[in-house]
Assembly symmetry: C2
Homo-oligomer: 123 residues x 2
């Protein structure tokens, strides 16, 4: 079973973390069934952590997990911290395939999405 | 003349700020000509500031500026800080229309974009 783990930074604001949880539910709903399980995890300040999120997916039967960083730029968190957390579980569960997707800001489609937001007048 | 100002948080990493500047150039290139000027500004840690970015657009002839927050969640920066910075220029140049667009994370299209990233296997 393929699983998708949306990874966000995590915030002291509960509402921001809830936005991420809501987004994971939307990904699950709008996905084409490619992922049998969609969940989210946080680098810091919120639960679950990335290792705990990965462990939960594996316990639920995931044989492959795609980790998707919900980040805008390729800073230390994307380049170093998230891969390090994923590697903890790679060592723990070498039979499970871990795929690190590109971070949100790296998508060329962000440009069109921003242009669309800029052209709307409903604020 | 309509102008678009992409507003990012700003980072201590020069590369992250350069990613934002590059994104503003892409917005300019891929825009349909709706905006005669596209630029970026930063809430902190990088130049120009939001007021300076707005002043530059007005000096260049903008009669309407759309401010587009390049942020993922509706935290303090989006809800309070960016509007406050925009209001400085509203008071300074009341003849210029300022439009505050929704922040990136509020776009319903983010879901499709993330699913697309998740399905790509080229990392």
């Amino acid at each position: 079973m393929k699983s998708l783990l949306l990874v966000a930074h995590g915030s002291r604001r509960a509402e921001s973390n809830d936005e991420v949880r809501q987004l994971a539910r939307q990904l699950d709903k709008q996905g084409n069934g490619e992922f049998g399980l969609v969940a989210c995890a946080f680098l810091e300040l919120a639960e679950p952590s990335i290792p705990d999120g990965l462990r939960a997916a594996i316990r639920a039967g995931a044989t492959e997990v795609t980790v998707l960083p919900y980040f805008l730029s390729a800073g230390r968190h994307v380049v170093t911290d998230i891969p390090a957390e994923v590697n903890i579980i790679r060592a723990e569960s070498p039979e499970v395939e871990m795929v690190l997707a590109r971070y949100l800001g790296a998508s060329p489609d962000v440009v069109e999405l921003l242009l669309e937001l800029a052209s709307r007048r409903d604020g």
